[in-house]
């Protein structure tokens, strides 16, 4: 099965505030000793809420724009 794309977390920028973990609407993130991680690859819906919640810009959920073919 192809792995679903998920938001990218830059742990070097992350300050472990936990806003993304608390705000994820589908509880796809958990806080580990290394920082936030996706607990289950398929749970994340790529809603991009975590990106907006991160105060230090450590999470990126980039979008590509295409015309429907």
């Amino acid at each position: 099965m192809t792995e679903q794309k998920r938001p990218q977390i830059n742990l070097a920028l992350c300050d472990r505030c936990g806003a993304c973990v608390e705000g994820c609407p589908v509880d796809a993130l958990v806080m580990t000793e290394h920082g936030p991680e996706f607990s289950s690859p398929l749970t994340c819906t790529y809603c991009t809420d975590c990106e907006g919640l991160c105060p230090v810009g450590a999470i990126r959920a980039p979008l590509n724009v295409v015309w429907e073919t």
């Binding site: 920028l13 790529y46 105060p55």
Partner: protein
């Protein structure tokens, strides 16, 4: 570094062979992984970069500790040149690589040497800044004449008609490009989605309704058949 890599940078493409050789002699190539901080705001400006490959974001942290995206720069763009030209000589913003990046690096002293000894280098820099000023003037005009809705629809049309760049665009970066904030971009994207103008499929924004989007962008319907032309950004 080799001159054949430098000629792909618009700033250097019109330089004389002599100046190009001088730039090549004084610059070196640096490779950075995604997520690396290239410049930190407020630190002494010691060098500028010219992106050979990849994408970076330029940002500041506000007093509340929130990141504010200022720009997203890709292949060919000069980075931190303004910091070297200001009297304070401090980095004016933070810069971070969003993808793996290859860049030509010029140290401050070499940059100044080129400015002093190679008039075509200085002229090329002036032209680059003139283009930036013209673009900012267009943006300012767009801010006063067009609503965010118009600017976003226009941006989506242009982006979909351009070659997809590595790294994609975040809503913060889109907001910085069209002169608004992330929340507004998110709200308008949801509105476009509710009206079947676009569809979200994980990391893709799929544009569905050409006529509807061109109407939102206040663009002529004549452009619809020409939707795949290169973007004007």
């Amino acid at each position: 570094m080799k001159t054949d890599k430098l000629v792909h940078i618009p700033l250097f493409s019109g330089l004389s062979d002599r100046t190009l050789q001088a730039v090549a002699l004084r610059s070196f190539e640096r490779t950075l992984p995604a997520g690396q901080v290239l410049f930190i705001e407020g630190e002494q400006a010691e060098s500028c970069y010219f992106i050979l490959e990849g994408v970076v974001r330029v940002y500041r942290m506000n007093t509340a500790g929130r990141m504010q995206i200022l720009a997203r720069l890709s292949t060919g763009a000069p980075v931190n040149v303004v910091s070297l030209l200001t009297e304070a000589r401090k980095n004016r913003a933070n810069v971070e690589s969003l993808t793996d990046v290859k860049a030509a690096v010029l140290r401050s002293a070499d940059f100044e040497w080129l400015m002093a000894h190679c008039p075509d280098f200085s002229t090329a820099l002036l032209r680059t800044f003139a283009r930036r000023i013209a673009r900012m003037t267009d943006l300012a005009a767009g801010l006063s004449l067009n609503s965010v809705r118009v600017r976003l629809a226009s941006f989506l049309i242009d982006l979909a008609g351009s070659p997809q760049t590595a790294g994609g665009w975040t809503q913060d970066e889109i907001a910085a490009e069209i002169g608004t904030v992330r929340d507004v971009v998110g709200r308008l994207l949801r509105d476009f989605e509710n009206r079947d103008l676009i569809r979200r499929d994980r990391q893709q924004i799929i544009l569905l309704d050409r006529e509807g989007l061109y109407r939102e962008a206040k663009r002529s319907s004549d452009e619809i058949s020409d939707a795949n032309k290169p973007a004007l950004m």
